[in-house]
């Protein structure tokens, strides 16, 4: 960035202001970076292995601070907005320009347009950051209550510092405006998640998960970087806005190399598809989700997936130009994505039907959910009018829908994983068979897990329904994709079957000799239910209340997600 600025002829004093301004907009990421480093030091300082939890509390505070700072960056567009007039340039760090002029000062205090920026702060990325940091906070909370993590007392510290590093990567993913930044942030997330997946290195399952994750990850990110290099070769730039501009001229003049572009985009999609576990790049998901400690699985399934979607959205919406008249992308990626999404949800759902392990079943279910979210992306692509800020554009419906879905998925899926973790804490099993008669052992857990599963199915009065509802609205605005709507609708029905199987096991079946015994005799209370700490019970409601509340009154949720369409 800086050498362009130095070449631009802007006085040094102004440059200092620019850097200061940019750094000011980079605070959440800086907090995370500092927090990560400090957590490592803290971990070294604490000798007592029971006090390692302190690092967890510290990580929670760091994430909360990052969340708060991200919230501060959010530009509310309707209602009482904080700074609409300044919004055009004021909310961006390292902002971009579509026409690639030299960096210009717009207003000395507020912002610059600078080409070749790496990262952008706009509402889309800010909302992603909020989702990710919230998920991170929840996962820290879960980890503090997790027996799997607690049992590895000595290494607890590194768990939480890695979590911070991973969050940093996920913060950068949806904000990346440059292929290199995209790659670096993706790798930052990947490498930390390899380690976290293998956190229980004494357990063969966990090690195997980590190994598979590394192999698949290395392979797909290799393909992605190859795709990026072709893209660079085609356009001579790594900045996605520049790529878009060059591609647009190439399309208009007819000089575009379609074969090379297709190969490049598809190869790039491999890396991103791997992150969101879209078919056919999903093969790692079940093994990793099953093997990793449950909090890590929860983090991968929500935050990492959200980051992947952010990256995918940036790439597809900003790197590939649309025809100004028809609003159709020149390169028909929506159809590729539509086929991928149909494949993803169908594969995910049908594979989940046959699982006997709840964690593995939820892994397949997250694949299916990625498929649903991709449907929303298709609806954006089928009518793309992003830059130009036409609030009435149907493409924006998909962006809002996907964020609503992600938020609903955040509470629901984390809640489901949390309850499964609590159950596993006591019976050390995630087999559906071992859930038999669990409703008697702990009615609260059984009921809340059922509600989360109902929400994942998308039945009204839960937030999952609202998410599906908005995706249906978004895609129904594109009648040519009616087939995809039908596929998604049928998939929702299929998904019911495996979610209900868990409820069936908990409520209808009775515990028998084969059911997993409890870990300790002391676990049972006088009234025959399992003993859970007050804290772990209260934490369920952190997920349960939004799941139900937003299902009944979803205006705030939709309004919040609606902010995301105000980007650039």
């Amino acid at each position: 960035m800086s050498f362009f600025l130095l070449d631009s002829g802007i006085p040094t004093a102004e440059l200092t202001k620019f850097v200061n301004f940019s750094m000011g907009k980079f605070i959440p990421e800086l907090i995370l970076t500092a927090g990560f480093l400090f957590a490592i030091v803290l971990d070294l300082l604490i000798k007592d292995k029971n006090a390692k939890k302190l690092v967890g509390y510290f990580a929670f505070i760091v994430l909360a601070a990052a969340f708060a700072m991200s919230w501060d960056q959010l530009a509310y567009f309707h209602g009482e907005m904080k700074d609409i007039p300044k919004w055009a340039g004021g909310k961006m760090i390292f902002p971009y320009s579509q026409t690639l002029p030299a960096p210009q000062l717009i207003s000395p205090s507020e912002g610059f347009f600078a080409p070749f920026s790496m990262v952008v702060v706009d509402n889309l990325s800010v909302i992603f950051k909020m989702i990710i940091s919230l998920a991170g906070m929840f996962v820290v909370g879960m980890s503090l209550l997790s027996r799997e993590v607690e049992d590895r007392g000595r290494r607890n510290g590194e768990f939480f510092s890695l979590l911070l590093a991973m969050t940093l990567g996920m913060f950068l993913m949806p904000a990346s405006m440059d292929l290199l930044m995209m790659y670096i942030s993706l790798e930052l997330v990947s490498i930390t998640s390899y380690i976290m997946a293998g956190f229980m290195k004494d357990s063969p399952r966990s090690t195997e998960a980590s190994m598979k994750y590394v192999l698949f990850g290395a392979f797909s990110s290799g393909l992605m970087i190859y795709g990026f290099s072709i893209l660079y070769g085609l356009t001579g730039s790594t900045n996605i806005m520049a790529i878009k501009a060059v591609l647009e001229t190439q399309f208009l003049s007819g000089s575009v190399n379609t074969v090379a572009l297709t190969v490049a985009v598809i190869l790039s999609l491999v890396g991103m598809g791997y992150k969101i576990s879209a078919a056919p790049f999903h093969f790692w998901t079940p093994d990793v989700y099953e093997g990793a400690p449950i909090p890590v699985t929860a983090l991968l399934s929500v935050a990492s997936k959200a980051g992947g979607f952010g990256l995918l959205m940036r790439f597809l919406f900003f790197a590939i130009p649309s025809n100004a008249q028809t609003m159709q992308p020149y390169f028909n990626w929506p159809i590729i994505l539509a086929i991928m999404s149909a494949l993803t949800m169908t594969l995910g759902n049908f594979a989940a039907l046959r699982q006997s392990n709840v964690k593995r079943m939820l892994a397949y279910s997250t694949i299916a959910h990625a498929g649903y979210m991709m449907v929303a992306l298709v609806s954006v692509g089928a009518f793309q009018r992003l830059i130009g800020q036409d609030p009435g554009s149907p493409s924006n419906a998909g962006i809002t829908a996907i964020l609503i879905y992600l938020i609903s998925y955040l509470f629901t899926n984390l809640g489901a994983f949390y309850v499964i973790m609590l159950i596993a804490n006591k019976i050390n099993s995630e087999e559906i068979e071992d859930y038999k008669g669990f409703a008697k052992r702990s009615p609260l857990l059984a009921v809340s897990l059922s509600l989360f599963l109902v929400s994942l199915t998308g039945i009204p009065l839960t937030v999952g329904f609202i998410g599906k509802f908005y995706i249906f609205i978004a895609i129904l605005k594109q009648p040519q994709y009616l087939w995809l709507v039908v596929v998604m609708a049928l998939n929702s029905v299929v998904s019911l079957y495996y979610y209900v199987r868990v409820m069936q096991s908990m409520f209808i079946k009775q515990a028998d000799a084969q059911t997993a015994p409890l870990l300790g005799e002391m676990e049972i209370q006088a009234d025959g239910t399992l003993r859970y700490s007050m804290m772990s019970k209260i934490f369920i409601f952190v997920f349960l209340i939004p799941t139900i509340l937003f299902g009944i009154y979803f205006t705030p949720l939709v309004d919040f997600a609606g902010n995301a369409i105000r980007f650039f």
Partner: protein, 533 residues
């Protein structure tokens, strides 16, 4: 109303209140738990009677919001910041007209009967009654809601309680039956959801200078509100056919219409008696009610154009259901198939699209509700004692259980449509209406009457006449609780068989209005209108 109270909300949410109270009761205090449910449902009957007494039969309702009664309307969701979705308005709108008032009376009645029949539930009583009350809320809400979104929520609200009620307290194959019921219904309702979204995108009302995309069913019925160029705008467009079919599918599964009926015998056979009563008494009616209210109200043109296919399915239901019933050896399964057959009359009457047919259909809905509830209760009486339902295992019960025999004779004869019982009146109306339009199919459908008589009388003969097998020497006659459940229904069935006007008067105005609405959208009328222009 004597008092200005939100009576429909009370009717709907009283059970939720009961559920919350039940949740705080100790688990082993079964008597109080039962008492709460019975009290709540008894209160519902009182409120339903208040509604009945204060109902103005001169007001049609249907597609005119002003003539709906007991209307409650509150803003619920207003999303106006996102022009891309349109400004979405979801209201809490409750209101009833002649079609729904009969269903509300039926629901209150059957819920009460079901609560009494639930006394035989032995295990996990607290959970059972909580689920039961939630189910009642869902049913009542479906018939009161005038906002599609609200309707859909109530519609789906019943799924989970019903799943558990069959799944936990059902018979040997309960898990299979429960999940089958759940999946079938969700399959239908997901397409209903899609049609609902399409309708929402189509319908726009102006309030305060802002265009709102509304979910109000009555606004959806008015073509003036349809946005030009939206997917369901116009008459008889392909999209309207698609939308109609999507909705119809959701409702047809609930009725259940052939070929979507296979969940019903399983669910009925496995469900406990009270739940069978609810299922046959109220749940099946939600399908036909939905067709009348939503399919006919919003897509009258498509309804008129496709009624000739609907009648075929109705006749298949009647005849096929009857043949299936005849082949059954399990009494409960026999009655389940008789439900399929009897719901066929409802379809037949609706497909006629004239006042007689529709009055017959709605009255048949009411009668099927009461009669089939009796039938299932009577099965329950026997099953509680003998623990088997095999038709061929009994004989000569008439002497052993005379009181029981008397009730059984009433409900069997009512079911086969003997004059003097309410079922006769409704079937007569259905045939009267249908014969004007579809002579051929109506003649085929009358075959159903003979078949019904055959399987009912045959069952009666096998079980009650002849000699009593020795193993049943110990059977006792009905006890007073069972009488309490059956007696009101028997009185109603006979009373409305002799004097049906009170119920018929409730619905006539509304049905005439609906019939006129649909008739005005028949292809011939539409064509005539276009030629005139």
């Amino acid at each position: 109303m004597p008092f200005n109270i939100p009576i429909l909300s009370i009717l709907t949410f009283l059970p939720v209140l009961g559920m919350i109270i039940t949740a705080f009761l100790p688990k082993d205090n079964i008597k109080v738990i039962r008492g709460v449910t019975v009290a709540v449902t008894a209160l519902q009957i009182i409120f339903a009677i208040m509604v009945w007494m204060n109902f103005n039969t001169a007001l049609p309702g249907i597609n005119d919001m002003k003539t709906y009664q007991f209307v409650e309307r509150f803003q619920w969701i207003r999303i106006s910041g996102l022009p891309i979705f349109g400004n979405i308005a979801i209201d809490y709108t409750m209101g009833i007209d002649g079609i729904s008032v009969t269903m509300i009376i039926l629901t209150a009645l059957i819920s009460f009967i079901g609560a009494i029949a639930s006394f035989s539930i032995g295990k996990q009583t607290k959970g059972y009654f909580m689920m039961y009350l939630l189910l009642v809320t869902g049913m009542m809400g479906v018939f009161c809601a005038l906002d599609f979104f609200l309707f859909y929520i109530f519609w789906e609200l019943m799924l989970l309680p019903m799943y558990f009620l069959i799944g936990i307290w059902g018979g040997p194959r309960r898990e299979y039956a429960a999940i089958k019921f759940f999946i079938y219904t969700l399959f239908g309702s997901i397409f209903m959801l899609l049609a609902m979204i399409g309708l929402n995108m189509t319908t726009v009302v102006q309030v305060g200078g802002i265009q709102w995309h509304t979910f109000n069913l009555i606004d959806m019925m008015n073509p003036i509100n349809h946005l030009p160029g939206a997917i369901f705008t116009g008459t008889l467009t392909t999209w309207r056919y698609v939308g109609y079919l999507a909705l119809f599918l959701g409702f047809a599964i609930k009725i259940p219409m052939f070929p979507f009926h296979t969940w019903l015998p399983d669910a009925h056979v496995e469900a406990p008696t009270a739940i069978s009563v609810i299922l046959a008494g109220v749940l099946l009616k939600m399908g036909t009610y939905g067709i009348l209210r939503i399919c006919f109200g919003i897509f009258p043109d498509v309804a008129a154009a496709t009624s000739k296919y609907m009648v075929i399915f109705g006749v298949i239901n009647i005849v096929y259901g009857a043949f299936c019933a005849m082949a059954q050896k399990d009494l409960k399964k026999l009655i389940a198939y008789s439900s399929v057959s009897h719901m066929g009359y409802v379809l037949l009457g609706m497909a006629a699209l004239n006042s007689q047919g529709m009055v017959g259909a709605i009255f048949q809905m009411f009668n099927h509700g009461t009669i089939t509830a009796m039938l299932f209760l009577s099965v329950g009486v026997l099953y509680d004692r003998a623990h088997t339902r095999g038709l061929n295992e009994f004989g000569g019960l008439a002497n052993k259980m005379p009181r029981y025999f008397a009730f059984v004779v009433i409900c069997y004869f009512a079911s086969l449509g003997l004059p003097g019982f309410s079922g006769f009146i409704s079937e007569a109306f259905v045939f009267l209406g249908a014969f004007q339009v579809f002579q051929f199919w109506t003649i085929i459908a009358t075959l159903g009457i003979i078949l019904t008589a055959a399987y009912m009388l045959w069952a009666l003969q096998r079980m009650f006449l002849g000699t009593l097998p020795e193993r049943w020497e110990g059977l006792t006659d009905m006890n007073s609780r069972e009488m309490v459940a059956l007696l009101p229904l028997a009185v109603i069935v006979i009373f409305f068989g002799i004097y049906p006007s009170p119920i018929l008067n409730l619905m006539t105005t509304s049905v005439n209005h609906l019939a006129a609405l649909v008739q005005s959208a028949t292809p011939q009328v539409i064509q005539a209108a276009t030629t005139l222009q």
